[in-house]
Symmetry: C2
Subunit: 454 residues, 2 copies
């Protein structure tokens, strides 16, 4: 059977939008991965049918268990395989008989430990039965818009961020942060050994996925770097942020030994990213922060920012980072300064950063943004709430409706009020960062992207 | 009255170890700062006497209120002043009558808004009545070992980290992080305008404070930069980490306008820091991370690290950051490799980073550290838990007792297990970082410091 592109596309569609899932190797032991995945599907309110497969159990987590996949009456869209590696070819044969042709192989024990023979056998069996699979040696997939968490930990918050990662841990970390912060995700894919489906297949899928605005990619070695850059370059609508370790000689050596793939010079990769409009992150935190900002905000028209803050000190910290990252903390034009002076209490010194001082409430920010929004020499706003300032979410949410320029928020030093307001803002699609440096770096990425497309 | 050094020292002792506090301007209105401070003293289980001063109320938060400080019968060690700026000189006169000679002036409305006259009057009155004061225009002080949170937000966790910050928001942010993570603090000082007591006074105090191991300093302009460097250089026992914005031209301009002080070249400051053994941080996150590592760990003998991880991808990410920051991810010597191979399952490839793979439990880490600890070519360990691995805290705590080399932990992608284990480890004095890059950078600081003192 020829696995052509549209065949693959159909299979990925079937996988992410699966209406029925078999967990092959499901277990009643809470310490097992297979138990955790089954539990996450149930706790994540998956609406399709779930069939646990286990030769010894009659029931797992309240669901009827089956001995083999061929014992199930209905059709199966997706099989999640969590059994010892050596048993997988036989299982794939049964999948073939039952016409199940998408799978996630969680189990390790292949190429990554030198077991090339078994990996080859799995590929051949998959080809024979027209099965496409994620992994092996991976942490599964998650598609929040189908309540499908065939992975761990449990992540259910819906958002606009897609995570595709070679490292299961990086996928889990980004997913957890997105879940805890309330910004959510569309899909999370742990690539594992990429023996069949690889990063390109998932990038293709999520570039077409209407809920996805940005792809956060963690990759140790590209299956086809040239093709990746081409697709990235041709894609005008969505952003791709990539974290690719192996920048240093030692890092590259370790990456090559881990992924069994050879990767080229980092200088060349960097140049290719710039040309293709791919944004580079140099740490998990940057990968998350940049993706969050890009997923939630429109692009600014230019790189001139106005900073409005209750904390003078935080304003200075942000200014340094802006200057170091080619964002202009623009001098306010005299007319705007006059208007702001007329509206603000006399103890507020009008400049950029604009220090509203510790006695400010959220409405003083609103007033300033509304006035400054009229001026074309300001492209975007950074609002720093450096105290427990209530109603920040209400104010910024209403500004977001009226103001066309991107608004990014930094909230810090605000105790319990900060926690609540930050979560509410994230749920309203406003990116909030916990320190000025992180907000300023994320803004620099937004405006770099805008400059590239000018 | 001559305010000599030992006089000041006595006063700072009295301030931080105060047995009785008057809150001048205490209020029943929960939206007022003065209410919040009083509440934090009470909720923070302050054991001394608290006297709210308010001309209109009889009782505030269950405590008897007094019209003026002179109405109180007992002695007062510390006055917290939260009244309009213009009323402060008169209040200081009453403090003088009552022989109260330490104060925190929270109120703003002085130099920072151009009101130099009033600030001068406050200084003169303070001198006349032998009063030393923090602020004005500040966020107060906190000394956890006296349960004294005369500040906000409420921070009570005891630790080894002292925070001295020109920015009240930076102080509050670091304090909150230390509280939430369970690592705690000794003291937190918001310097404000530094009109009387300045950073040097507090650095002097906390260098002598037996609970303090590291000082995290955020400063926009030094009162006496030369003296600071001298004291830092002569101090052999404790670490000082400094975050001083104004690195860029624009940042310097904003800092100078905010603090009304002129600061010199950043290149010269940087050189002076290196000479004096002061560690520089370039962001609030770095200031926190470096202080946390230095506050909890001994110095390694050299800069050679062994990385033990359940997540291959995270190991690679850490390797890049190490290489970029002069930490050697050392090749394992053949004898050590042999011993590890004999102990580990065959699917673990023995190298550095050592990938224990996703099926590891915490005890596999223990085994490896115990073996590798015998080898002199390893100076420290980074343990990366990249999955929900239980018992990490038990294992690392017991290793900490036996192993002389510093152990730093990175825990990520571990969901609820991660949350619990991280908090427990922090409470046991083990530094845990939520991403490999942050752990690796903190380690690079530890080993840089060790090289400097060689």
């Amino acid at each position: 059977v020829l696995i052509n592109k549209s065949n693959k596309e159909n299979k990925l569609n079937k996988m992410f939008n699966a209406n029925s899932i078999a967990i092959i190797g499901a277990s009643n032991n809470p310490n097992k991965t297979s138990y955790q995945i089954l539990k996450n599907l149930i706790d994540g309110a998956y609406r399709g049918k779930i069939y646990p497969i286990n030769q010894k159990e009659n029931e797992i987590l309240g669901l009827k268990a089956y001995s083999k996949i061929t014992d199930i009456d209905g059709g199966i869209d997706l099989a999640v395989i969590v059994i010892p590696a050596r048993l997988i070819p036989e299982t794939m044969k049964e999948m073939g008989e039952k016409n199940v042709n998408t799978a996630i192989i969680i189990s390790g024990g292949f190429k990554e430990i030198g077991n090339y023979e078994l990996e080859k056998e799995v590929v051949e069996t998959a080809n024979k039965y027209n099965i496409s699979f994620v992994g092996p040696n991976c942490q599964g997939i998650n598609y929040t818009y189908n309540n499908l968490c065939a992975s761990w930990p449990l992540i259910t918050a819906k958002g606009s961020l897609c995570i595709i990662a070679q490292s299961g841990t990086v996928a889990a970390t980004l997913g957890t942060w997105a879940e805890n912060e309330g910004i959510g995700a569309t899909g999370i894919v742990s690539l594992g050994n990429k023996t069949d489906l690889n990063e390109m297949d998932f990038i293709d899928f999520f570039l077409k996925d209407e809920n996805t605005k940005v792809i956060a990619l963690n990759i140790e070695g590209f299956t086809n770097g040239k093709k990746f850059m081409e697709i990235a370059k041709n894609n005008k609508e969505k952003d791709i942020v990539v974290l690719k370790p192996g920048r240093t000689e030692k890092g590259k050596k370790v990456a090559q030994s881990h992924t069994k793939s050879v990767s080229g010079s980092d200088v060349i990769f960097d140049a290719a990213c710039k040309q293709a409009g791919v944004i580079r992150a140099y740490s998990i935190t940057e990968l998350y922060d940049y993706s969050k900002a890009l997923g939630l905000l429109k692009k600014p028209k230019g790189n001139r920012v106005m900073v409005i803050t209750s904390s003078g000190g935080s304003g200075i910290l942000a200014t340094d980072i802006f200057e170091e990252n080619y964002v202009e903390v623009v001098d306010l034009n005299p007319e705007l300064s006059q208007k702001l002076k007329a509206e603000l209490p006399s103890h507020c010194v009008v400049s950029n950063p604009l220090d509203l001082t510790g006695d400010t409430d959220a409405y003083r920010y609103e007033k300033c943004v509304n006035i400054a929004n009229e001026y074309d020499d300001i492209d975007m706003f950074l609002l720093i709430f450096g105290d427990p300032i209530p109603n920040a979410c209400n104010v910024v949410s209403s500004l977001k409706e009226k103001v066309s320029k991107p608004i990014i928020v930094c909230y810090l030093g605000g105790g319990e009020v900060e926690k609540e307001e930050t979560l509410s803002m994230h749920r309203n699609g406003i990116p909030v960062f916990p320190a000025p440096e992180r907000a300023a770096k994320a803004i620099s990425i937004l405006s770099r992207k805008c400059k590239g497309s000018d």
